[in-house]
Subunit: 364 residues, 2 copies
């Protein structure tokens, strides 16, 4: 038993409503397992821009730094900050958190629930046996390289972005992927790059091969990102751990979310190097966005947020039994036929965000 | 009637065998419609590196320049040129052709044949009505930006790539997309970018909006690349023309190929600005690669190459009836139940590369 400090950043759109349900589940975990979770809420995204003048304030950054983990909702999708000329972007909150807290390893597991095999747009027979983990580099690459700007030239405007990786950045993320593969069944790492075009990918490949040599027990392969985008939906069950750079990881995980039936099912953990008293410091968030079109309508699927909470319990608080209890509760409620609107299917019972949260909390 | 000059570059792996079948179909078109097609073959890729010291020679470039169109097979996938330290890459042939011939507009249509709806890993109900065209920018972006290199720093190696776009480059590709949308049924353009992260995407969005204003008859929307990777397999039938930058187009089209059942079905056209006596100069190639694992085994699907030939007839030679005759021939043979190995299904007849080519040629 102990006290755990969690910073809660609900953000924009459906962020607050799904986070509320994750907190409801957390409360239930506390009661059942006898833990005290000290949660502190703060603003991020458009909400923070309006109230505090920036997408995330220094005070909120400090709060995060003093916590054991961060439970994050979603930011962005707010049209008045989306124009190509907008000065502050809600997404800045995410970039600042990821970069300043050195959350370089973004873990995005994709394991379709049996009861949801039919909910996907892919054939159930293709999904059978799918259990993969994308390890996405999160603090480097084209997200952070400079210059990144629009500039005037004699022939009109031009824009530039910079994709930059150091050996050290590549090495630590690839090593993380191999370590994670050791704890899994298939024991395989697929490193995804575009080595036939990018210099950064050629360095990536070189470093990945060096790291792979330290893990003779793990099957290792390279795959080009375009081929991977195809094989993910052609033979998803053949993958185990996929490790890749920031932008490729962003694209491939949104695609992979369809394997699980809905993006509303997929959690993520962003881990750094810092160890707290309880585990590895990290930020946990659904991979879905703020979905402004359904915000405030009690329609959003809170499961991605609840499964993110389970990852938080596991990785940052080292509460494995509690994490599993949450995951089992989700599976139970799904097995019992409850669905939010994103997973509509004949023979299921559609419930709202709140009701789904309540059902899962009760099942814990 | 007339004489048409076509440069034929079969390349590596399965490139030669699929191209041979396209040429067989071309011969049949010539006989049936009374045209003389003057074809000249040359080496590209690994084959050219070995025989001529570079992935494409100046003589071959000159041949291309003097032709009305190029029929291209595939390059790359040759392991001795794939190491991260390899000096000449077979892919250089493609980059040189694209860049020097200014083939900026890469058209990749995806329209699953009815008889193949079941061959996809996606559910047939999802595919119903899918008829999309990806217009990929092909001569800019991170494929060509400088610096692109691996360099020594005091803290070890680092690698850099540069994503660069000028207003002019964006404008011409977006305009191409809108023009093409005008000739289609759904009359819709989806511009795909990552404007919440990239400066180049913010410029892209600005220019796309300016161009869109000239086409009030076309529905227009922006979509983030990660969301697009998801929606492509979630609601493919909702797309019409998708316009995007070079790398995003590369990834999304490989993914989209699964909608058609197999990458072996998908043709592409790369068009430039130059007008020949007969139409728009262009390069035509399957979107699949050299597939070294099945090369020389009479297993490859020649349909992507044959459909690329149909695009060549249409866009570069302005032979629309001939193009349609080829497309109808392919559909007939598919409807008759013939498949290559990549499309194996109960109740179909598996044939080799040659036999498939012969059947289609006969059906023209
Ligand atoms: C909101 C956006 C900037 C972000 C990203 O691209 O990283 C999101 O898509 C994600 O995957 O977490
Ligand atoms: C071979 C490779 C360099 C090429 C590309 O990335 O453009 C291929 O994937 C394509 O899509 O034509």
């Amino acid at each position: 038993m102990g006290t755990y400090k969690i910073a809660v950043l609900p953000g924009d759109g459906i962020g607050p409503e799904v986070t509320t349900q994750a907190l409801r589940v957390l409360e239930r975990v506390g009661a059942r397992f006898g833990h005290t979770f000290q949660t502190t809420q703060a603003l991020v995204g458009a909400a923070a821009i309006e109230a505090e003048g920036d997408a995330i304030s220094d005070a909120t950054m400090a709060l995060c730094q003093e916590s054991d983990a961060i439970l994050f909702g979603a930011v962005g999708g707010v049209s008045r900050y989306e124009g190509p000329n907008s000065k502050v972007q809600p997404e800045r909150a995410l970039f600042r958190l990821r970069k300043e807290l050195e959350l370089f390893a973004n873990l995005r597991p994709v394991r379709p629930f049996k009861a949801l095999l039919n909910a996907s747009t892919l054939k159930p027979s293709i999904l059978e046996g799918t259990d993969l983990l994308v390890v996405r580099e999160l603090t480097g690459g084209i997200y952070f390289g400079k210059p990144s700007e629009i500039r005037q030239t004699p022939h009109g405007l031009e824009a530039i972005d910079t994709l930059l990786y150091s050996e050290g950045e590549i090495e630590r993320i690839v090593r993380t992927a191999f370590e994670l593969a050791r704890g899994r069944t298939k024991k395989k790492v697929t490193s995804v790059d575009k080595a036939n075009v990018l210099s950064s990918s050629r360095l990536w490949r070189r470093v990945a091969e060096r790291v792979a040599a330290d893990y003779p027990d793990i099957t290792f392969e390279h795959l080009l990102v375009d081929a991977c985008a195809m094989h993910l939906i052609r033979r998803p069950a053949s993958f185990d751990v996929i490790v890749t750079e920031n932008m490729f990881g962003d694209i491939l995980t949104d695609e992979a979310s369809m394997l699980a039936g809905s993006m509303g099912m997929l959690p993520s953990a962003s881990l750094g190097t810092r160890q707290t008293a309880h585990g590895t410091f990290g930020l946990y968030e659904p991979i879905h966005g703020s979905a402004p079109d359904i915000a405030g309508q009690n329609k959003a699927n809170p499961i991605a947020s609840i499964l993110s909470l389970a990852m938080l319990l596991r990785h940052s608080l080292s509460l494995e039994a509690e994490a599993q209890a949450v995951e089992r509760a989700v599976e139970q409620v799904i097995d019992a036929g409850y669905r939010t609107e994103d997973l509509q299917e004949a023979g299921t019972t559609i419930v709202g965000t709140e009701e789904m949260g309540r059902l899962i909390a009760e099942a814990v």
